[in-house]
């Protein structure tokens, strides 16, 4: 008994199971020479045309490219570059429908040819035998060569296999009906193909090379035999015509009797299969330096006046191919990319030719009738006889229909090569392959899901563990300090607090805080007798609040002080928008209870500050402004928050806003000025109060507190305000206005502020009835003041809301 290799070289063929004999329909296109198409108006070049990863783009839109210039650069395993098929300009790089049954958009480079067809500089390697294997493989890699038979497997990967290849098979079987691209290529370029095979033989050193051609292509067989006659160990093998003997696994079985193991590759059994077109491309790339930029495409079908093979540049739209052959579409015209058995119907003819496109079929209805209705399986088992992979198509069909994926895998669905032989023979016209394709996609998806869910589980558990660990650590940290040290810590905390207080005071030198504090201290000392207790609590509250504010708003205050409100606005615009959204979101769920609490606190703060101011109105006038400013902005922020939360109560606010818009038109003062204005008014009021501090210290305090609160909730507080004497307030208002006017005179240091104050003062006087409308309850003079203050604040607020750029929400955020 001879060895297997000897029998192979003697020319023995083995039968392969299954197979069908459809009409070949190749004579329409295989007699004419390969036609060279005129340049198409545009080329759509998908970046990825093979199995694997796409390369990195090397070019930009509007760039001029030369023919053969690399457009992408391989960056990982399995990535193959694409090249410009002609010289021209890149008009766009965008996702375009791809040459895939789904036609899902895929990143493509669109080139507008300039008609010159100018080559870039090519580097031929006629003496490739002197190169190292690595260099030669690089040449194949960078020439962008991938399998041109259908799957698009990168050739350089096959060529660099580590396994010992005994049999190199060149697949010229071309078993699918209608396609004759390899046939005519072999007839016309047999020498080049053989030289390409030589390159691969040099790389792989196989024991024998077989060129397999189906016996219905006598011209191709003759041409190839002639071309390789002088070469030892290279034989042309005519194999019986049968579909799908051109399938890789089937061809190996026919030529070598070996079977590729399930899930394996041919290299596992020492065999490597390459396509005829790929060999031609290899020869072009190595000996001439030309990258893969064009291929032979069979353009056939009865709706074409001329059915023939053409040299199509990669990226040529199918439309151009058809138009060149006088395409006369029928109603319901189908255009199929690939052959009738394994190809797919194109959803549009604006799909480009890619490296794996071997045929464009535009059949007439008579030539290829539409499939009939699917009927019930009659269990004739014709499909099992036809299956080249010896599967049980009928069983698979049942399982696919009932989605029993486990059973499908048990029945080796993934060994199905989707040749379509089963569907071809099915008397019930069941589209069996379609069922398998759907099921395969489904199973693959489930596998991906499974992997993903395993990862998610892993991550979830890792996270859980981490959280537990962190909690444990936290618990330990809390445990560590002993009981004796607890007091130490407390005292330390107190010291730290005090230090922080001192620090913050020093940091804001010249600012309000220490002065205010000092003033408070003094005030306390003065009225220690009568007011000690209420004062104490209030001062404490006030200090805490102020400290918090000072820390949180420091940066902003500084900005305000340096009079750069616009910059601050810009910077905070995004944050402000976000917070506005947050507020809107919280509006429904926010509890009303927050508002009063804050109001109380604010009232206390305001009262305390006012009192402090009263004591040193003369000496700290200027310094007061920023302090007030700070406080005001906080108060305003709180007001805004409160407003958002109680939209129901916002009727008055709306009115105020409307009124404010009018004001805004006339005044057109920036928002920071408004703040100053408000601050100034408040300061003025405070100072006015100072005058009567001697006689009605307590009253002043409560009034101010209520005044502040009133700004938040005018109608709620209005009733409370009724109790107060109106005369006092009248006086206060008058004094405030007077002082504001007086301040305007001192324009040296605060020109704008003074100006706006005056304006404010006047505006306040001018709009008592609008204010009254806003408060809509009282008619006393007290209302005038309240209204004025409310109006001012509302105005500022409205302006800020309209611009969506303010400091208030930003301040509010950290709190």
């Amino acid at each position: 008994m001879d060895s297997l290799l000897a029998r192979i070289s003697r020319g023995q063929l083995w039968p392969s199971p299954g197979g069908v004999h459809p009409a070949v329909n190749k004579s329409q296109s295989n007699s004419l020479p390969i036609h060279i198409l005129p340049l198409p108006p545009r080329l759509v070049l998908p970046v990825k045309q093979h199995i694997g990863a796409q390369g990195h783009l090397l070019v930009n839109v509007h760039e001029q490219v030369l023919k053969g210039q690399a457009l992408t650069k391989p960056h990982a395993n399995w990535s193959v570059p694409v090249h410009a098929p002609t010289s021209g300009r890149i008009v766009d790089i965008t996702p375009m429908p791809s040459a895939h049954p789904s036609a899902l958009p895929e990143l493509s480079i669109i080139i507008e040819p300039d008609g010159e067809d100018r080559w870039c500089e090519l580097v031929p390697h006629p003496n490739y035998r002197e190169l190292t294997a690595e260099r030669l493989i690089d040449i194949l890699h960078f020439a962008g060569i991938s399998g041109m038979g259908g799957a698009g497997f990168p050739t350089y990967i096959k060529a660099s296999t580590k396994q010992q290849i005994e049999v190199l098979i060149i697949n010229g079987a071309e078993c699918e009906p209608y396609i004759s691209a390899d046939d005519v290529l072999m007839q016309a370029h047999s020498d080049e193909i053989v030289r390409g095979i030589e390159v691969l033989r040099h790389l792989l050193q196989p024991k024998i090379t077989l060129i397999a051609i189906e016996d219905d292509k006598p011209k191709a067989i003759a041409a190839m035999e002639q071309a390789c006659a002088s070469i030892e160990d290279m034989q042309v093998r005519a194999i019986p015509t049968k579909y799908p003997s051109g399938g890789e696994k089937q061809l190996i079985q026919i030529l070598t009797s070996k079977e590729v193991p399930a899930g394996g590759i041919p290299a596992d059994i020492g065999v490597l299969v390459q396509n005829i077109g790929t060999m031609y491309a290899v020869q072009q790339a190595v000996e001439l330096g030309k990258p893969l930029i064009e291929r032979v495409v069979t353009v056939t079908g009865d709706t074409l006046a001329e059915q023939r093979n053409v040299w199509a540049l990669l990226g040529t739209e199918v439309k151009h191919l058809l138009a060149q052959q006088d395409f006369t579409p029928e109603p319901m015209q189908r255009v199929i990319m690939g052959g009738p058995m394994m190809g797919f119907t194109l959803p549009t003819v604006r799909i480009p030719v890619v490296k794996t496109t071997n045929c464009i079929l535009a059949p007439s209805e008579a030539e290829m009738p539409f499939p009939g209705e699917e009927r019930a399986c009659i269990r004739c088992s014709a499909c099992a006889d036809a299956c080249p992979a010896s599967l049980l198509p009928q069983q698979l069909q049942w399982f696919a229909k009932t989605k029993e994926y486990k059973k499908l895998e048990e029945h080796k669905l993934f060994d199905c090569i989707e040749c379509g032989a089963c569907a071809y023979v099915c008397p019930s016209e069941i589209p069996l392959v379609q069922y398998y394709r759907v099921a395969k996609a489904e199973i693959r998806e489930q596998q991906i899901e499974q992997i993903k869910s395993d990862r998610a589980k892993e991550r979830f558990e890792a996270r859980k563990e981490r959280l537990e660990r962190e909690q444990e650590e936290r618990r330990n940290r809390h445990k560590r300090p002993s009981r004796s040290k607890e007091q130490d810590t407390q005292s330390k905390e107190k010291v730290a607090e005090a230090l922080a207080r001192v620090k913050s005071k020093q940091a804001d030198k010249g600012a309000d805080k220490d002065k205010v504090a000092a003033a408070i201290a003094r005030a306390k000392a003065k009225k220690a007798g009568e007011q000690l207790e209420p004062d104490n609590s209030e001062v404490a509250q006030e200090r805490a609040a102020r400290k918090e504010q000072a820390r949180l708003y420091k940066e902003q205050k500084q900005q305000a002080d340096t009079a750069e409100p616009v910059a601050a606005d810009d910077k905070k615009a995004a944050v402000a928008a976000a917070i506005a959204r947050a507020k809107a979101k919280k509006a429904a769920q926010a509890a009303e209870t927050e508002a009063p609490a804050q109001d109380d606190k604010k009232a206390a703060v305001a009262a305390a500050i006012a009192r402090a101011k009263a004591k040193k109105a003369a000496q700290a006038e200027d310094a007061d402004a920023p302090a007030q400013d700070d406080k005001k902005t906080a108060v305003a922020a709180a007001i805004a928050r409160a407003k958002a939360k109680k939209a129901a109560q916002a009727a008055e606010a709306d009115e105020a806003k409307v009124e404010t818009n009018d004001d805004a038109n006339s005044a057109a003062a920036p928002q920071s000025e408004e703040d100053k204005k408000k601050a100034a008014v408040a300061a003025a009021i405070a100072r006015a109060k100072a005058k009567k501090a001697a006689q009605a210290a307590d009253a002043a305090k409560t009034e101010t507190a209520q005044g502040e609160a009133t700004q938040d909730k005018p109608n709620e507080e209005a009733t409370a305000f009724d109790a107060q004497s109106s005369a006092e307030d009248k006086k206060k208002a008058a004094v405030a206005a007077a002082i504001a006017r007086a301040k305007a005179k001192k324009a040296a240091q605060a020109a704008d502020a003074a100006k706006t104050e005056t304006a404010q003062g006047e505006a306040t006087q001018d709009k008592p009835n609008e204010g009254a409308k806003a408060l809509d309850a009282q008619s006393s003079a007290e209302d005038k003041k309240k209204a004025a203050v409310a109006a001012a604040i509302a105005r500022a607020k409205a302006k800020k809301a309209a611009r969506d750029a303010q400091n208030k929400p930003d301040q509010e955020d950290p709190s």
Partner: protein, 185 residues
């Protein structure tokens, strides 16, 4: 009569011996965790979304093992219900809440210029698929996101969207009848 007595004795003795063996085996070879829970957990999609009412997939798996309904997992869809029903030997019931049979796969997407960097979504994410730090913009690792929705609610500025996963050629499924496969001679 004696024969009957001997027979009863022999059987009684055998029963006793086997009873002791079984009793010993039950103690000696005791399985700590219920293996059914592992199996159920493997079927669940591990989105950890909590839509079943349990804090994660494993707690739900334990609940099913203890007799809870198998139809409370919207991310898993009908397929998961079917598998769980097969495993537990119960009737496959439609999803609770009348969800669509095949839930659309989604991933979270953070509108990054609106993110304020609050880290609330990071804390909510059960699979650590959100990266970011305080006052820094956050972003979602799409490959790790299970589409569980848990980050959407905590976001104070509503800047997280659930975006359907785009279909690619890898995830595309053939449509039946897309290709006319028929007799051509």
């Amino acid at each position: 009569m004696m024969i009957l007595f001997y027979a009863l004795c022999a059987l009684g003795l055998l029963a006793l011996i086997f009873g002791v063996i079984l009793g010993f085996a039950a103690v000696r070879f005791r399985v700590e965790s219920d293996p059914i829970v592992e199996q159920i957990d493997a079927i669940l999609p591990q989105t950890q979304c909590g839509q079943c009412g349990y804090p994660g997939c494993r707690p739900y798996a334990e609940a099913i093992a203890n007799g809870d309904d198998v139809n409370k997992c919207p991310p898993g869809g009908e397929a998961t219900v079917k598998k769980l029903a097969d495993l537990m030997g119960v009737e496959a019931t439609p999803l609770a809440g009348g969800e669509q049979a095949e839930p659309e796969k989604k991933v979270a997407y953070i509108r990054e210029d609106e993110c304020i960097g609050c880290t609330k979504c990071i804390q909510a994410c059960p699979v650590d698929a959100i990266v970011g730090a305080t006052r820094q913009m956050h972003t979602v690792l799409i490959d790790e996101c299970t589409g569980c929705d848990l980050c959407v609610d905590p976001c104070p500025v509503d800047c997280i969207d659930m975006v359907p996963v785009a279909q690619t050629k890898q995830t595309w499924k053939w449509q039946l009848q897309a290709i006319p496969v028929t007799q051509i001679d």
